[in-house]
């Protein structure tokens, strides 16, 4: 009798232990889909290597980014080429500065510009979009008409205009990039908020007496996150592209700072003298960063937005 009930208890334990189905959350699901995407994982790896390079790289540099190598300066074409012996692993630029250090500096700047620009756009756009969509009515149409008008002005022109009017500085560049980036984000977030705000769980929250702000923050925002992340990941390369374009024109970041767009512009300007490395090194970094970011964005979209698969 005793043995039997022990056996039954054991059995019950076994059943409860092994037959409980482990549910997977949306995020676990998304992570699994992302990890299975080979192109995206390879891109993450390569991008991580580049970031690592910008952190560790400076410790191996023989020259700083500001020093001018007077020995090479007179004959950049003949002596400034990439070599291990002189310590200029990527060669020197037109003024005799070490390109290896300059490329590290430029890559850091470009990545930062992409991240901060996208983050600004993300925060402003999400807040604006949620507010417009959730409040609705006339407020919504006024807020969105404002966005429509701003969207009608070509983004590059707005940035050039802002940089000319307010002066060129790092801070202003971030503001200008953020100022054009948030518009599309606001539109997307508003659309999503509109579909969410009439759902039952929002109604339930309201019936339970949750304040409006808490509903937006606790109930709507988490449900938007997937779409927002996907769009933000595509925004980062776009920001880098725009900044490079502006810097290429000579209106973006100014000396002694530099960005990949600036270095490519300098390299493109001097390539007819036969100093090709000045173009090729920044260009390689640039194209690699952009392509890997595209793949990561695509992978995130496939993972987080099941409709598109």
């Amino acid at each position: 009798m005793l043995g039997k009930s022990q056996k039954a208890a054991h059995l019950a334990e076994e059943i409860t232990d092994y037959t409980v189905i482990q549910g997977r959350s949306l995020w676990q699901d998304a992570r699994m889909r992302f990890v299975r995407n080979k192109a995206a994982m390879a891109s993450v790896f390569i991008l991580a290597l580049i970031v690592l390079f910008t952190i560790i790289g400076p410790y191996f540099a023989a020259w700083s980014n500001e020093e001018i190598d007077w020995n090479v300066m007179g004959d950049v074409r003949g002596m400034g080429m990439p070599s291990i012996e002189t310590g200029h692993y990527f060669g020197v630029d037109d003024l005799g500065r070490d390109l290896y250090s300059r490329v590290i500096q430029a890559t850091t700047t470009s990545l930062l510009v992409g991240l901060i620009g996208a983050a600004t756009a993300l925060i402003v756009g999400t807040c604006y979009g949620i507010a417009a969509g959730y409040i609705g009515g006339r407020t919504d149409s006024v807020m969105m008409r404002f966005v429509d008008i701003l969207l009608a002005i070509p983004a590059t022109l707005v940035i050039i205009l802002l940089l000319v009017v307010a002066g060129r500085s790092f801070f202003m560049l971030f503001i200008a990039l953020g100022a054009v980036g948030w518009l599309t984000m606001a539109r997307i977030v508003r659309g999503q908020t509109l579909t969410l705000k009439n759902r039952e769980f929002i109604e339930a929250a309201r019936a339970a007496g949750v304040s409006e702000f808490t509903i937006m923050y606790r109930h709507i925002l988490p449900n938007l996150l997937g779409v927002v992340i996907v769009y933000a990941s595509l925004l980062v390369p776009e920001m880098i592209l725009t900044e490079s374009f502006i810097s290429f024109l000579g209106l973006g970041i100014s000396e002694p700072y530099t960005s990949l767009g600036r270095l490519i512009a300098e390299g493109a300007g001097t390539m007819s003298y036969g100093t090709l490395w000045q173009l090729i090194y920044p260009l390689t970094f640039y194209v690699t960063i952009i392509i890997t970011m595209f793949f990561i964005g695509d992978g995130l979209r496939d993972a987080l937005d099941p409709k598109d698969r």
Binding site: R145, D148, I149, A152, I153, P154, A155, T156, L157, I160, L161, L162, V164, V165, A166, G167, L241, S244, F245, F248, L249, G250, L251, G261, I264, A265, G267, A268, M271, S272, L276, L279, L283, Y286, V287, I290, I291, F294, F295
Partner: protein, 307 residues
């Protein structure tokens, strides 16, 4: 349809006016101007210059004159830097050039992009598909200011086939590189959008029905699949046209075509606000008009949209 068009037009006009007003004030709060130089001008001279350009008037009066001249005479006023030219001259000289190769690269990007996308979707998961997808992604990562140096490096410096810049009345040798440089990245995006849209359409029920009733593949694709495929593409073409216009700012400078972009960046660097303002307004107005046309084309294309 007519009511919808009129309503859209009624929204577009105040948008353009607002754009003008916003740009006008932005310019006027900016510190420094075209007449501030290293060596300060004597106050009388400065006062005379300001009177000449109407800068001594109250701001609202300036704005009113500016708006009035644009709306009634289509006149953007004189340039602050070039004494003998006004903004209209500068636009009239540069804009046709930018528009010529801009339109060409728009057509090129659309034609090649759509063909690539359709070919990839029809031959899904074959080498044609992989080739088109690879090309699309690579092209997307190569915006005009990257393509410019690469093209010059290849065709001018190494092969010596094409001249590295200039315009010469738009002879084809001078057109090839600006058009390709401008078109590449948009071609990539268009190809990818077309491909995914076509794949979605080809998997839908009405295509299966068309196949099931025995229509030849060619008819299925051209008669049934093409129109719904092109819907998302059409809505992307409006923005592309605008990007091509602004992208030409770079191409003008890099290939020295003498287009409007050179004047634009030149005026941005020398703080010639009159030119800067005129060109911004021109591009902004064009954007509004192109968006309007895109929406109307979309409404015409998609019978599901009701106004």
């Amino acid at each position: 349809m007519l009511a919808y068009s009129v309503r859209r037009l009624l929204v577009a006009i105040p948008t353009i006016l607002l754009l003008i007003v916003a740009c006008f004030f932005l310019m006027h709060v900016a510190p420094g101007g075209p007449f501030t130089s290293e060596r300060p001008l004597p106050p009388q001279v400065l006062a005379n210059i300001e009177a000449r350009y109407g800068l001594d008037q109250p701001l609202w009066k300036q704005l009113w004159d500016y708006l009035y001249n644009i709306v009634v005479h289509f006149d953007f006023g004189p340039s602050f830097k070039f004494k003998d030219r006004d903004v209209n001259d500068i636009i009239a000289q540069g804009f046709p050039i930018s528009l010529t190769y801009g339109s060409l690269s728009f057509l090129f990007a659309t034609a090649v992009g759509v063909s690539l996308g359709i070919a990839a979707a029809i031959r899904h998961n074959t080498w044609i598909d992989y080739f088109a997808v690879g090309l699309g992604i690579a092209a997307q990562a190569l915006p005009n200011f990257i393509m410019g140096p690469i093209l010059i490096l290849t065709f001018t410096l190494w092969l010596g086939w094409l001249p590295g810049g200039g315009w010469h009345g738009g002879q084809w040798q001078y057109l090839v590189m600006p058009v390709i440089a401008l078109a590449t990245s948009y071609m990539g995006s268009i190809a990818r959008i077309t491909r995914s849209s076509m794949l979605e359409v080809l998997n839908s029920n009405f295509i299966r029905t068309a196949r099931a009733k025995g229509l030849p593949t060619r008819t299925v694709i051209w008669r049934h699949a093409l129109k719904p495929t092109l819907l998302p593409v059409v809505s992307y073409l409006g923005p592309v046209f605008v990007y091509v216009l602004t992208g030409s700012v770079f191409v003008d400078i890099y290939f020295s075509t003498g287009g409007l972009g050179q004047a634009y960046v030149g005026s941005a660097l020398s703080r010639d606000y009159a030119v800067l303002l005129g060109v911004t307004i021109l591009y902004g107005a064009l954007t509004v008009i192109v968006n309007l046309l895109t929406d109307l084309a979309y409404a015409w294309f998609d019978p599901k949209i009701r106004y």
